[in-house]
């Protein structure tokens, strides 16, 4: 029973907080973080099924057919090996892009002259489609691990560099002055001042880079690799198996979703945990 409280004015009020705190937290989390994406996916699925049934086309398979293909892909021997290979290439390429972007971005963020010098290259890099890098790298490096890694580096680095430059510009100058006065060591400045201060920009850049990477790697694997998700997609395409193409896309999308929700968001929460302490 909810206890009633007598207020000074003689009116009756009830406590705002009901039930246990942890239960409410879970309910809030479900409502905010789980229901919206699930609702979105459900609406898309229903829309797709309606379209498939109304068109009766081999090119638009129904949900049940796609589900069977997903099952086939998931249980096929080596399916996760293919996904693992693609992920490995993404991680190596993105890491390369991240390191290069960090060094170049910090330098350009601190020097207007260097930024002006690099600007044409960055704009060019942002406008060149991933397809061009994929083709060029396959021509240059052939069927080797260098093709996807370099293509990813070139495709992702410009967008990441822009984020790093913005992050550098957003660092509070008064903290840099403080570090100068206290003679904080260069590596300590990098790891304890610059990188944490830039963390929101780095994380959003990494997210964007990761989604770009997926688009580039598929192209490289289609054109110049004999393994990976892109290669499998190409195989399904050559057999005109639309459900197979969608199934590989869904399975890999699910893996990327796990990385986004299971890894990047946990990382983000850990990096920004200081923001969630009570402010006095």
């Amino acid at each position: 029973m909810i206890p009633k409280l007598e207020s000074r004015a003689g009116t009756t009020s009830v406590p705002v907080s009901l039930g246990n705190g942890r239960g409410q937290q879970w309910a809030g989390w479900l409502q905010r973080s789980v229901l919206p994406p699930i609702s979105f996916l459900m609406i898309i699925s229903i829309g797709w099924e309606v379209m498939a049934r109304s068109l009766h086309s081999m090119l638009i398979p129904g949900l049940s057919e796609i589900a069977l293909e997903v099952r086939r892909v998931a249980v096929t021997e080596g399916a996760f090996v293919q996904i693992g290979l693609t992920l490995e290439r993404i991680v190596i390429g993105c890491s390369l892009a991240f390191v290069v972007s960090l060094v170049v971005g910090i330098a350009a963020g601190r020097s207007r002259l260097l930024e002006a010098f690099l600007r044409p290259g960055i704009i060019l890099g942002l406008t060149i489609p991933g397809l061009v890098w994929a083709l060029l790298c396959v021509i240059w490096f052939g069927v080797s691990w260098r093709s996807p890694v370099v293509a990813l580096g070139l495709g992702v680095a410009p967008a990441l560099t822009v984020n790093v430059i913005q992050g550098v510009r957003a660092v509070d100058y008064s903290l840099i002055e403080m570090a100068h006065i206290f003679h904080i060591r260069p590596l300590d400045r990098l790891f304890h001042l610059w990188l944490p201060a830039m963390a929101p920009f780095l994380l959003s850049g990494f997210r964007m880079g990761f989604s770009l990477a997926w688009k580039v790697i598929v192209l490289v694997e289609i054109f110049g690799m004999s393994s990976g998700v892109g290669y499998q997609l190409n195989q399904e395409f050559s057999e005109q198996n639309v459900a197979g193409v969608l199934a590989w896309t869904i399975v890999f999308g699910a893996v990327m979703g796990v990385i986004e929700y299971g890894l990047l968001q946990i990382l983000e929460r850990r990096i920004t945990r200081w923001r969630r302490v009570a402010t006095v």
Partner: protein, 249 residues
């Protein structure tokens, strides 16, 4: 007088971003802060007090003249307390201090004992955001004194705090000064604060900035904030400020 901080014929001017003109802030400015002495700089806003502090901290360079830290090598470290605490919000209180002590090659225990000295030992593992404004400024004080500084520079350190918190922190600074005895410069607009904390109060005026008057505070530490002699000094400082305002530019 043996020097802690020596400004010798210092000149400094700035280019005005809006007009493109040059504004001379300091012209052949000289001042000595003795070892163990705390000198307060008071004067109107924009006169050049912060410029003097930045020159002493090595954040800026003189156009001509010299700023020297005339102390033994092991006492040359500079600690600074700013108007805002300038803490790294993503590091705990203890880790904010250890960053400075590590750089100064001072044992981390100094940081911990300094946190105890400013009565924040229990908050060592808290993030700065969870602290009040006064507590955050106490962390900044602990950081400045934990590096065993020969010089402590303070730029309006209590101006953003309420009166009671400011009064407590002034007492704390007095205790720290008694225990560590660094040389220092204090910028403040609070003339009572200047009289309470400083050994000498330098009243600045004019453009470029010059010394209008030096008021010596003849009260030994520890001082009582209600000591009438401090009020006399305060009146003297205010009179000097008022007369500099009335004087033709």
């Amino acid at each position: 007088m043996s020097g802690g901080i020596i400004f010798e014929n210092v000149s400094k001017s700035f280019r005005m971003a809006r007009t493109g003109g040059v504004r001379q802030i300091l012209h052949n400015f000289s001042l000595e802060v003795a070892e163990g002495e705390l000198v307060a700089l008071v004067g109107p806003s924009g006169i050049g007090k912060t410029t003097l502090l930045h020159l002493a901290a090595g954040l800026d360079r003189t156009d001509s003249g010299e700023v020297q830290i005339d102390l033994p090598a092991d006492r040359c470290r500079v600690g600074m307390v700013f108007q805002q605490p300038r803490l790294l919000e993503w590091r705990t209180v203890e880790k904010n201090i250890s960053l400075a002590t590590d750089a100064a090659q001072v044992p981390r225990e100094e940081g911990r004992s300094m946190l105890e000295a400013v009565h924040l030992g229990a908050h060592a593992h808290a993030f700065p955001m969870s602290l009040s404004g006064g507590e955050r400024q106490r962390v900044a004080l602990a950081r400045a004194f934990a590096i065993k500084p020969g010089i402590v520079l303070m730029d309006e350190p209590f101006s953003a705090l309420d009166e009671i918190t400011g009064r407590r922190l002034r007492q704390l600074v007095q205790e720290l000064w008694l225990n560590h005895n660094p040389s220092g410069l204090l910028i403040t607009h609070n003339t009572l604060e200047a009289a309470f904390l400083a050994d000498r109060v330098v009243v600045l005026s004019g453009q470029p900035c010059s010394i209008r008057k030096i008021v010596r505070v003849p009260v030994s530490r520890p001082r009582n904030p209600d000591d009438l002699r401090l009020f006399e000094c305060h009146r003297e400082i205010v009179d000097a400020l008022l007369s500099s305002e009335a004087a033709p530019a």
